[in-house]
Amino acid sequence: MDVMSAVPLVEQLSREMGISTATALFDGPAPRTVDPVLAPMFRRGGLPRGEIVTLTGGQSLSCALATIAVATQEQKWCAGIGLGEPAVSSIADLGVDLDHFVNLVTPAEDWLRVASILIESFDVLVVDPGFLPSAGERARLLAKVRERKISFISLTSMPGSTEQITITDTQWSGMEHGHGRLRSCLVQVRSQTGTHRFLLPGPDGTPVEAPASTSAEGRFERPVIRSVS
């Protein structure tokens, strides 16, 4: 009898929106691949789908663009809402495929409507919301994000997000009081997985692992010589 009743339950579960297998029920859809430097920030080593991630603090837009870079290279469509006028050169430097990125210039108060239209066919949204949604609107947004399994990155903190990533410190280097130029930025990130440090942007514009000796900040370009036994 117990065995008989288990079968309809499995069937019923498999008909639920977005649940196809038992592992999907426990793990959700597999996260999107991100740059290996950024992967440790995320709980499951990649940009989660069907969830809202908040990314706040200095350099958060660069961090969001660097995060979506691999997805665009895999032909996934990404859109930005409320970002102002991004510099195309820096978007390209961060590794985003320009053929799969769209920037929306719509009134700030309409961001929720724009997002709900884009959710239909896009894979990743990077949003700097013009206002915070009410509890009801938020619940509907969350439901839609979960249903379409899209990755939603918010650049301001939003209740209901599952992962909160905060950039707590940024240290630019390369400018020596009028004798150099910006070369790289060492960022310190706090997320659910702990505290991480890396260069964003690194000397060539892409994220790079932080140099081993943090005391030598500002001299990243010096080659490190290792002895090989």
Partner: protein, 549 residues
């Protein structure tokens, strides 16, 4: 005869290439109305790329710099190379050829290729065909043409440089004797490859052709494979035929000017149906359309749209958007952008009772659009317009973005692109979805002093004050800043302390043209809150031009 024909149709296509020597110089002389006797040199990136015969006689050679030109021939005219000028004059000139031959291809400005089998029926042999063509072209254009005939297009281009005819079957020997530097034909990407080949001791195309194709491919990749194919005389792909320069367009003048989008939409549907019928009758498909609007005041608006499912309704939509955006943004009073937007979003439903749609007044009797024009901007064969199976959900994406464009206007959905320039604001090329991008500055040209990575994430233009310790504005000179910057004052009144700053570097552009000349000084600063900003000083005023976010 039959053997001859078979040989011609299997491997090689005998091709006639006609080239105008020093085309850039010829085009520049036409553009600037110079006499052919004036020595003229065309410069690109500081080097001579073309010189006419009098200049060559004076000793000017390709690759000289500007100073060398001045030494050798002080009276020589020096002109900057302009791709548009090259293309414009050439396509105007080859119009005569459309009457003479059935198929031809423009390889580059100044060079065109004609498959010889298309001339077979009209002329007895190759020399007589060439003679007839050249005399016709020279009499209509007045340019000098060098002909070249060989079994492949590449060989024919080289032969045209020497004005010679390579006998059928001798193309291999002809190519083998050519120096390796002729591979420049492949494009700018080949410069490095040519250097490598030279260092490896491959001095002629024959040396390269003697290598095994597989070895070349594994060592040099696709580019090397292409070079090897050229050197051995293998034709990779047949050339695309020149599409007839038929201007398929329709125009309509309105009896009374109107700014009402329902009227415009109705008229456009009929007009678009006419145009599409014209296009279909020629067995073609139109993938891009240029919409021209003419206002009473004499201004006009011109935009090119790419539409995937081109029909009367989609064209009418684009025209309506364009008209609304133009009338709202232009000098026409009475319709604020926001009002226009809400009107357009609801227009479709309210058509039966237009008078109740409050914000839109009855008519702009003395303002509005007086004439419409539709031009088929890109024509292809039906097979070229079909969507690839491997495009991932572009159809859905297109649908979503078009819906947003319908709601918020065409300029609300922008796709990124890059063009030439020094600062991020100049290299930005945001184009509305489905519109053809039109870069103003060439990305291929050198931009000395362009900003290096890391570049700011967002672009702004906000006038600010940069103050030194005493509260005086910081002045900028080519040699550097007059004093160390200490604080930034934003227009809202907030100030922020500067904790670190870069060296200032001047960017000077357009000094040769007083109208375009700009001089600015660029500076990067980090403020007390840890933010990095890009500043620039122009005409005595500091601007915030970019933020690292």
């Amino acid at each position: 005869m039959s053997a001859d024909l078979a040989a011609g149709s299997t491997e090689h296509r005998r091709t006639l290439v006609l080239t105008v020597p020093d085309w850039s110089a010829v085009a520049a002389a036409t553009e600037h109305d110079l006499s052919p006797r004036t020595p003229l040199a065309v410069l690109s990136a500081g080097k001579v790329v073309a010189a006419n015969a009098p200049a060559r006689a004076a000793g000017i050679a390709v690759g000289n710099n500007k100073r060398a030109v001045g030494y050798r021939c002080p009276e020589a005219q020096v002109v900057a190379w302009d791709e548009d000028v090259d293309n414009k004059h050439f396509s105007a000139g080859v119009g005569a050829l459309e009457e003479l031959v059935a198929r031809f291809t423009l390889l580059a400005p100044g060079t065109l290729a004609i498959p010889l089998d298309s001339l077979k029926h009209g002329y007895a042999d190759e020399p007589s065909a060439v003679e007839a063509l050249i005399s016709a072209l020279v009499s209509t254009t007045g340019w000098e043409f060098f002909p070249g005939i060989a079994d492949t297009v590449f060989a024919a281009v080289l032969a045209a440089g020497q004005a010679r005819r390579v006998e059928p079957g001798e193309t291999g020997q002809f190519l083998a004797a050519q120096p390796i530097s002729t591979l420049e034909y492949v494009g700018t990407g080949a410069t490095e490859l040519i250097d490598t080949f030279t260092q490896l001791g491959l001095r002629t195309l024959g040396d390269l052709a003697a290598l095994d194709a597989r070895d070349v491919n594994s060592r040099f990749g696709a580019l090397g494979k292409h070079a090897h194919e050229l050197a051995t005389g293998v034709e990779r792909t047949p050339l695309k035929d020149h599409v007839r320069e038929e201007r398929l367009n329709v125009e309509l003048g309105l009896d009374t000017p109107t700014a009402r989008s329902d009227t415009l939409g109705f008229l456009t549907r009929q007009l678009a149906a006419d145009l599409l019928t014209k296009v279909r009758r020629r067995g073609l498909v139109c993938t891009q359309i240029t919409i021209e609007l003419f206002a009473v005041t004499g201004q006009s608006s011109n935009r090119t749209w790419r539409i995937e499912d081109m029909n009367e309704n989609t064209i009418a939509d684009r025209l309506r958007w364009q008209a609304e955006g133009w009338l709202a943004g232009g000098a026409h009073s009475g319709s604020a952008p926001a009002k226009n937007r809400s009107a357009s979003a609801r227009r479709d439903k309210e058509e039966p009772a237009p008078d109740q749609s409050g914000p839109d007044p009855e008519d702009f009797s003395e303002e509005g659009i007086i004439a419409l024009g539709l031009v088929a901007a890109e024509l292809t064969t039906p097979i070229g317009a079909t969507r690839s199976l491997f495009d991932e959900n572009t159809g859905q994406v297109t649908h979503t973005l078009e819906r947003l464009q319908g709601l918020f206007g065409p300029d609300s959905v922008l796709v990124p692109g890059l063009q030439g320039g020094w600062d991020p604001a100049e290299t930005n090329l945001w184009t509305p979805w489905q519109q053809a991008a039109s870069p103003v500055r060439s990305p291929g040209a050198p931009w000395p002093g362009a900003l290096h990575a890391p570049r700011p994430t967002t672009v702004e233009r906000l006038p600010i004050d940069v103050l030194a310790v005493g509260g005086r504005s910081v002045g900028a000179r080519p040699a550097g800043l007059e004093s160390a910057p200490f604080t930034i004052r934003f227009p809202a009144g907030a100030t922020e302390e500067i904790v670190d700053y870069s060296g200032s570097w001047p960017v000077e552009s357009g000094w040769w043209d007083p109208e375009r000349a700009t001089y600015r000084t660029r500076l990067q600063v980090v403020t007390e809150s840890g933010r990095a900003l890009l500043l620039s000083k122009e005409n005595g005023q500091w601007y915030l031009t970019g933020r690292y976010r």
